[in-house]
């Protein structure tokens, strides 16, 4: 079973968000980067579990610059076999998806696993786009994935509930909570990751269909208005008459 796991690099969840260059760029100063949680905890770990049960390989794919290599090595330390970095700064999701799809087309994977969204751009875009470029079924927001032969049984979140579906390989999936339990890389994994192959590929040509023009921080919150614990009814009064929301 050949599995491709797409990972993106994201600022640690406690990072302070600030912008530079006249609010056109994210301020990376002092920011720790991690593997996007959905990609690491769910897509990657479930991919590894399937490989361990059925044989095959797990390849990591990232579209990004050389500063992503430590993040990619971490995915290798968790247990992936090899990695590919497509050497370009991502500017829009279609561009990223195009690169992923071009690579996947040449290498015939049984499945491409993505996260349901990145925690920095919050796009929920790349997975569906890759599926469309590959002309493969897209299963979004999957919370369980089991394989028997080349048939996958997948539980996915849909509007108002869950659904169990069946699809034969190849397919593209976006992973949500429930797919697996996070794994912490051990010393052996970290050592092994240093020598695992990380191939750098140059991107194919494409045109930006969208781009971030500027960023903006939300206005600072005013002070919190305190209500006495002895008179919670006053809270409801305020919500009705001042905030006018109930």
């Amino acid at each position: 079973m050949k599995i491709l796991v797409c990972i993106s690099k994201a600022p640690d969840t406690t990072s302070k968000i600030a912008f530079t260059d006249n609010n056109t760029a994210f301020d990376k100063n002092g920011v720790q980067f991690i593997i996007n949680p959905y990609d690491e905890w769910y897509a990657l770990v479930r991919g590894l579990e399937l490989k361990e049960a059925n044989g095959g390989s797990v390849t990591i794919l990232n579209v990004g610059g050389a500063d992503n290599d430590p993040t990619i090595r971490k995915a290798l330390a968790i247990g992936a076999d090899d990695a590919v970095r497509i050497n370009m700064e991502p500017t829009d999701a279609l561009g990223v998806a195009k690169q992923i799809a071009d690579y996947a087309k040449e290498n015939a994977f049984d499945m491409v696993l993505c996260g349901k969204e990145t925690i920095d751009y919050n796009g929920s875009q790349v997975g569906g786009m890759v599926a469309a470029f590959l002309d493969q079924p897209f299963v979004s927001n999957a919370s369980k994935l089991d394989m028997v032969g080349n048939t996958a049984t997948i539980e996915r979140d849909i509007q108002g509930g869950k659904e169990i579906i069946e699809v034969d390989t190849p397919f593209v999936l976006s992973a949500a909570k429930g797919m697996a339990e996070a794994r912490i890389p051990n010393m052996r994994g970290i050592m092994a990751a240093r020598t695992k192959p990380l191939q750098v590929v140059e991107p194919s040509a494409f045109e930006n269909t969208s781009e971030v023009a500027s960023y903006e921080l939300p206005p600072a919150k005013g002070a919190c208005k305190m209500v006495s614990a002895d008179n919670p009814a006053e809270l409801l009064e305020l919500l009705r008459n001042e905030a006018k929301i109930i």
């Binding site: 279609l94 925690i119 569906g128 469309a132 979004s140 849909i158 509007q159 960023y215 009814a233 929301i245």
Partner: protein, 319 residues
């Protein structure tokens, strides 16, 4: 030219988020003079209410291949409807169905897309859409460069406007590919509004000590007409179902009112709720970080405060 809106349905009804999307399209059309076409896939017995929120016509796509949720096929149908209606702007709701279909369509049409819009696009000069990024901690203004533009609208982000048009309804059966994806079983949790669409949310955390204490939370939610949510440890310990988990790794919501009871206000929790219009924190610890993000606060023991709130809410309902 037209603005095409995917109006999703659930349990034989056009969804509230679909009305928001239609109203969003109609507000863009007010400026551009375009026609607004709503596309509905599957059965819905309230199609005519789409006119109320601004649809000029409704294309009702009927195909037995679409009985199940088939994002690839719906994208195909949307592409056909866009060609039929000469659509330059295509709108989805940024809910679970929009998140699946819209990116497929964007790739098929090579159209620039912005997901999770929180405001109407700016259309003088460049076409720019505002969206939340960094899990609600910031906004990006994203410029779309292509002639065809796709936008998905965050549920509950904008007030829906009424237009009171009377929409014509036309059935259409498009020739669609066969899907390899088979739906085996559906587990519809409830007919309640999904959390992302609830206007009022009562949420509780580890401060509640155990699942047996959620009775008063449910009572408060019921008295206010609110949905219930919880922090991550609460769903991890199975005190509450997973779909109630809000935050960075759970669902992101932006209700009009979010009441957080016995939740500390960790940054990963706030990431999923910080876009709520009004936030209330109830916590024994006056130093709890949630008070920094809240508009109203009560320092107090949930086990004393919440029952009193329930009484007050019930009394208010009787006024």
């Amino acid at each position: 030219m037209s603005i095409l809106v995917y109006a999703n349905t659930a349990i034989n009804k056009v969804h509230k988020s679909a009305f928001e999307a239609v109203s969003y399209g109609a507000q863009i059309a007010e400026k551009s003079g375009d026609k607004v076409t709503a596309v509905v896939v599957g059965n819905a017995d309230n199609l005519d209410s789409l006119g109320k929120y601004g649809a000029d016509n409704v294309v009702h796509v009927t195909s037995d291949k679409l009985d199940d949720f088939q994002p690839n096929l719906i994208a195909e149908a949307m592409q056909k409807a866009a060609a039929d209606n000469n659509s330059s702007i295509i709108i989805f709701s940024h809910d679970l169905s929009g998140k699946s279909i819209a990116p497929i369509l964007a790739a098929k049409m090579n159209a620039g897309i912005v997901t999770g819009a929180v405001d109407l696009p700016q259309t003088d000069g460049d076409f720019i859409v505002k969206k939340a990024v960094f899990s609600g901690k910031a906004y990006a203004h994203v410029k779309i460069n292509t002639a065809t533009k796709i936008i998905s609208l965050t549920p509950n982000a904008l007030e829906k406007k009424e237009f009171n048009k009377s929409a014509s309804i036309e059935s259409k059966s498009y020739e669609l590919a066969d899907s390899r994806l088979k739906v085996k079983e559906q587990k519809i949790q409830s007919t309640d509004l999904p959390l992302t669409e609830a206007e009022l949310v009562v949420s509780a955390g580890r401060g509640l000590k155990g699942p047996e204490n959620w009775g008063m939370i449910e009572e408060l939610a019921k008295a206010l007409g609110a949905a219930t949510a919880c922090s991550r440890p609460v769903s991890d310990m199975d005190w509450r179902p997973h779909h109630e988990h809000v935050g960075q790794t759970g669902v992101a919501i932006r209700p009009n009112l979010y009441i957080a009871i016995g939740i500390s206000g960790a940054i990963q929790h706030l990431a999923g709720v910080n876009q709520s219009k009004v936030i209330v924190a109830i916590n024994t610890d006056p130093e709890a970080p949630f008070f920094k993000a809240a508009d109203y606060g009560i320092v107090g023991d949930a086990f004393e405060v919440v029952p009193k709130l329930v009484e007050a809410a019930k009394a208010m309902n009787h006024d």
